[in-house]
Each structure stands twice: as structure tokens, then as C-alpha cells.
């Protein structure tokens, strides 16, 4: 099930086409904003622009979903909330990929990879440490 892409969120959902994880950022105060909003929640400015982050993040928490809510070949699969390196509290819910289940841990350093579904690129995260990466797909 895919997100509805609009003018307001296409930078986020389609940035992956060019390998970029993008958010709105406030020009006067530098705050990164997610999900999107017409104003900066910190200073209320409307001067916002789309910028890319490094793609580095850390795992704040995770869960392995076992329940077949929707048929899928890869149960259990890891769902995580990650915090983007550029700003405390800049978070995404996502999936961890290319990782062995026993290596998943809170605090783990991860980096973004993209997976295309139709006209949307999902930002997923794999271990930053190459030694922890596995070839398993999502």
C-alpha cells in the first residue's frame, strides 16, 4: 500500500529516484520538518526549502512483525523508528533491510537505501557497518 503523493510531499517520497533523502528545511532557523507543513514549527516562518540529508541515522526502536496482516513471504520482518543524524527528533518509521535479525539493536547505526514501488521510493535503512550487511532482500 503506497502513499498518496502530492506537491507537498513529493520531495520525500520521490527523492529516492536520485538517491536523495529529502525533507523541508526552514531557511531562517535551519529546522528540519517532518511530516511536511506550510510553516516551520519552531519559528513559524514560511520560508522553507527542500534539502537532502546525509542518509545516516540510528535505530531508536524496532519490532519484528510476525502477524500475517497481509500475506508476505518474509515474516518476521523488522519495522523500526530511526532518528536522522542531522537533527534530534527528526524521525521516520521504516523497515530495516540487509541485516540479520540477531544483529538488529537499538542504537545501531544505519544508512538509507531506496526501494522503488511504482512512482514512490521508500526510504529503508541498512546497517552502516558493511560487516553487518546481509544480502537478504525485503
Amino acid at each position: 500500500m503506497l502513499p498518496r503523493v502530492t506537491d507537498a510531499n513529493s520531495h520525500f517520497w520521490r527523492g529516492g529516484e536520485h538517491g536523495r533523502l529529502q525533507f523541508l528545511r526552514c531557511t531562517p532557523c535551519g529546522t528540519w520538518i517532518h511530516p511536511t507543513s506550510p510553516r516551520c514549527p519552531a519559528c513559524l516562518s514560511k520560508e522553507l526549502s527542500v534539502e537532502a540529508v546525509s542518509g545516516r541515522a540510528s535505530v531508536l526502536t524496532y519490532t519484528f512483525n510476525h502477524q500475517p496482516w497481509v500475506p508476505s513471504p518474509d515474516h518476521p520482518y523488522p519495522i523500526a523508528i530511526v532518528e536522522i543524524e542531522e537533527q534530534e527528533g527528526l524521525r521516520l518509521m521504516t523497515n530495516l533491510v540487509h541485516v540479520a535479525g540477531e544483529d538488529v539493536a537499538i542504537g545501531m547505526a544505519v544508512q538509507v537505501v531506496f526501494e522503488q514501488h511504482e512512482d514512490v521510493w521508500f526510504p529503508l535503512f541498512e546497517p552502516a557497518d558493511p560487516k553487518l550487511r546481509r544480502g537478504v532482500g525485503r
Binding site: M1, P3, R4, V5, N65, Q67, W69, I79, M93, H117
Partner: protein, 397 residues
Amino acid sequence: MSLRRKAAITGIGQSEVGRRLMRDPLDLTLDACLAAIEDAGLTREQIDGLSTYPGAMGPAGFSGAGISDVHDALRLPLRWFNGGPEHPGQLGSVVEACMAVACGMANHVLCFRSVWEATAQGKGRRQGLGVGGGAGGGGARMTGMMEYTIPFRAYSAANWIALYAQRHFHEFGTTREQLAWIALNARRNAALNPKAIYREPMTLEDYLAVRMISTPLCLYDCDVPVDGATAFIVSRAELGGDLRRTPLFVESVGTALKGRPSWDQFDDLTTMALRDAGRALWEDTQLTPADVDVAELYDGFSFITLAWLEALGFCGRGEGGSFIEGGERIGLAGELPLNTHGGQLSAGRLHGYGFLHEACVQLWNEAGERQVPGDPQVAVAAAGGGPLAGCLLLTAT
């Protein structure tokens, strides 16, 4: 200005509750509403307010009736009404009824919540996917909260709560053996409740052996969908003395939400919105957590109850696991009897309203075999998880 003791619960009602009753959900709703009106010693002509959560909305089974359905079926002469999903939790609809009577907008507000999820799921119309609509599949694209959860196959509140539970385990060393006591205590109490769904004994071994849903939550950490409806009469406090029952005064309410209204963006990934609502409950009362005789705390998932215990100050932050461990403290004869009817885990998902109903039953000393001893005078009822949270403190004197 204060809401303190300006509103009272003067009647309660509940329909038949069960798995796949295959009954018209409005029929169930009216059973509960009429029972509550009669319980208060009122007639429907005296009901001048109506309030509900979440109002008429999908997905199938999530709401059995809206304001207009009940208004029209009972031909109520309303002066005030209110229904919708954007409340401080399910019991926010009762809090708003308290506000309405406190400021003279109504004398007697009928509050109701009805669900028919078991029948809806049985008909294959809903698979327990995320609450709040928008996850209907069929090629529909996700918006709002679902936009940032469903694409990552975090389909269910089970996943979202599991993320909080895992973080709590990580920060505070909470274990599944501790969390189990929410489910075990509920089942122990359900055995004494004739209306509960699951009443056979459950052991710690049973709990640890059952299949996982979303780590660290197993099947027994998840509540059971049912069909059923619950209703209350909220009256102006000064009118309560003329009615059939001893009024249960609403001493205080907790509706605060200071963090971001979001599952994944809330600042503290161990507490959820209940942190703010729970703390606010004590801001307008002389009572303290030590005065509470019985606690009925939402358990749509077991971890939510643990989080409410901390949020309401029954134990310190991060101490919920050790507080419940062994189950003695939270048993019927313990220092804080908890979820005395079996909670939603064992008595069925009446979606928040069941907890307030049980709080009233206990304060009126009508809980039969599961009655908390010692004539309880003060009860907390709390509902909601994630960004939904609201709670009430009731007193019998």
C-alpha cells in the same frame, strides 16, 4: 474555573457482549443506552445531551452507531451533543459531557460507545488493520498518519505499540516475564466475571509459549475484538442527589497532550500521550495516587496498561515492570486492584468505555465475586494509547 465535582455519573448500561453476535450494532447500542437511562432512574425525555466516540465512521465494525442514529432512534430532546474521533482518547467523549453539564449546557448527558468488530471481522470485512480508517486496501493510497506507517508494513496498532514496548524494555530492563502480569491478572479477574470472553486460567508458561504478534508483544498482549455497547449518564452534580443511585462524582479529568500528536513523532518513545494526560489528572485535586482504591487502565495492548501505571504516578517512570511483577500488588486483594473485570484482554474490546463501566460497578459495590474488598471510594478509569489518552478520577463520596 475547575471541573472538580461539577459532574457525576448517575447511571450505567451495557449490552450483551460477545464474539460474533451477528446483531444490528444500533440494536446493541440502544440496549446499552436504555439500560443506562433506566439505571439512573431517568426517562428519555430527560436526556438533553448526547456524546460519543468516535461517531459514525468506518472501517466496518469500528463504530456501531453515531450521534444521529441514537438521537433519532430515541427521539431525544437534545440541548447539546457531540461526537467524533478527535477527542482525548475514547473517554474524552465523557469528559466533554462533564464539561457540558458543568457549564449548564445540559442536565443529563447520555454517553455511548459501541463496537461490532467481531462480527465485521467474521464477515471478512476487516482484518484488524490500523485503526482510524484509510487502511482499506483496494489500491487506495495512504494519507495522514497512515502515509508514514502503512508503506512500511506497520499495518496495526500492535506494531506501533510494540515499538514503544521495545524501547521501554531497552531503557529500563523491562521483561516479557514482567509484562505478562497485565495479561495474567486480567485473566485471573475475568474468571470471576460472567460477562468476560476468556475465562479459563492462563499461566506464565502459557503466556511465554504463545505465538508472537510483533516483538515483544505476543498474542496474549493483544485484546479481543467483540460486539457490544456501553453507556453512561453524566449529570449535573447538583441533580445527582435526586436520582436512584449514589452519584459518582468526577473529581478530576486528564486530557493534556503536550507532545506531538503522533505515534512515531512523540518525543518519549516509552510513554506515549498518556504521560501528559496522566500527570494532568492530579493537577486539580487534593487526592493523590495513594488514595486510589481501584484502577481500570486501558489494555488494548498490555504495554499500554504498564505505561498508564507510570503515567498516573502509581510507580516511577520505568518502574512499571517491577511494579506489576508477580501480580500480587495488582490483584483484587492487592494495594492497587487493576482491571478487575478482565480488561479488554480477557473481557473484550469495548474500547475504553468498559474501564469506566467497571470503575462505576466497583464503586457501587456491585461487582459480585470480583468485588474489590473494603468498600472502595476512589477509582481511576483511563483509556487510549499512542496519541490518544484521557482519564477520569471518580469518588463515591
